[in-house]
């Protein structure tokens, strides 16, 4: 369980991979992962392949990430959500707000 942050060599793609439960406990780590990225035209890939649970604070964190990305002309992509995670995203109508890559 936890968050792993990796950056592409050019620093344009920041991957945030969440293992296990994506919930409030991760908020500080998650925020710290993007707060310093103020370079324009970046892509934040939130990898949800290994995520098995998501609560409303996770949705809130994603929205705050999006807000930050918008502020600096970057974008957010949700990558490989499982069917259970996809249901949570659907009920929040996130497919209209985020690009989702299977």
């Amino acid at each position: 369980m936890g968050l792993t942050v990796t950056r592409s060599p050019d620093g344009k793609i920041i991957t945030l991979a969440i293992q296990g439960q994506f919930q409030f406990a991760l908020h500080r780590e998650f925020r710290d992962a993007y707060l310093g990225v103020t370079q324009p035209g970046c892509e934040f890939d939130v990898n949800l392949a290994a995520t098995d649970y998501m609560d409303s604070s996770a949705l809130g964190m994603l929205l705050l990430l999006k807000e930050h990305a918008n502020q600096y002309g970057s974008r957010v992509v949700l990558v490989s959500p499982s069917s259970a995670i996809r249901r949570v995203l659907e009920i929040a109508s996130f497919e209209q707000l985020f690009a989702i890559k299977s």
């Binding site: 908020h27 609560d55 409303s56 604070s57 949705l59 809130g60």
Partner: protein
Amino acid sequence: MAADFHVKNAVRWRAGLTLLTGASVGYGLALLFLGTGWLWPMLLLLAAVVLGWLAVHCSARATEAHEAHFAARAAPGLADFCRGLDQTVGEELRAIDEEIARTQALLRDSVALLTGGLQAIAMQSGVQQGIVRAVLNRAESTDQVKGVNVRNFAQDVGRMMSDFVDLLIQVSVQSLTTVHNIDDMVEQTEAIFAAVDEVQGLAKKTNLLALNASIEAARAGEAGKGFGVVADEVRKLAQISETINDRIRERMVGAKESIDRVRETVAGMASRDMNECIGAKAQVQDLLTSVEKINSEFTDHAAEMGGVAQHIEQAVGDSIRSLQFEDIVRQALDDARLRGELLRQLASELQRAAALSASPEELLVLMQRFRDTHGEKVGRGIVSQTSMDAGSVQLF
């Protein structure tokens, strides 16, 4: 009949006479054996002889009469034959007429009943179709009117669910922002704690310095007396400042505890399980789906019922048209009766002619003329209709 009577009479006579002959012989022989004299037995035997002759005579007559009777039977008169024919034909035709009349009455009643029943079915089917149409119209108008309607209700609930989820996420975002701000603030309080610690270190050092100054003042004696007073004041001030510092730290610790509690509460607001919402939304979706299904099934069934009513109407129409067979059958029966009547006429004409001692040849001529006159008429009366197919029904 008269010949028959004579034959029976002759046979009766012969039997009686034979019996008397036998009795006379028997009685005479009995008297002879009993020895009552010769006269009576002889008389009785004589009588037996006479009776025997009479019996033989009667037998001959009976045979003659019998033969004559059979001869008469073998060759009856043409008139008798025609009379018998007329009689038999009359009786049979009366029976046939009765049967035809009975069949026609039965047919009339049954067809009337059937027609009435079919018309009632057609009427009821029309009423049923009207009811279905009314129900359909009502369902459609309730759909249009914004009122208590399951579909609207389900859609409203779905909308409310979405709003609720949006609100939940919004609360999470705000709570997270608040928590982030609190965290930033906690970082600031950590700096305050550090500053307080520095102040405390300064107070302690001041206190120590003041203590040293007091000691040096005491060693200087009278000359250092004034300096000693100042050093004591400084020391007191250092102690007071340490006390104040402790109070600040105490308050700060209290404030930090409060902040932690607020953080905890706000964090609780940020974290909500989404599974309940997902379950509720799925239920609403199921409800909507089943309402749609019921609705479309209802519409389909109503349309089917309309189709069924049309089929019933058509089938009833066909059936009523088919009932025209009554007319065909009645006509055929009338025709049969007419033919019977002609047969009766022919029989009575033959009988009349034979009674006037017409020869067989004359009777044949009579029959031929009759056939020439009426044969065609009868043939034309027969209804050629044999099929009940729609469109080929003859109307009479």
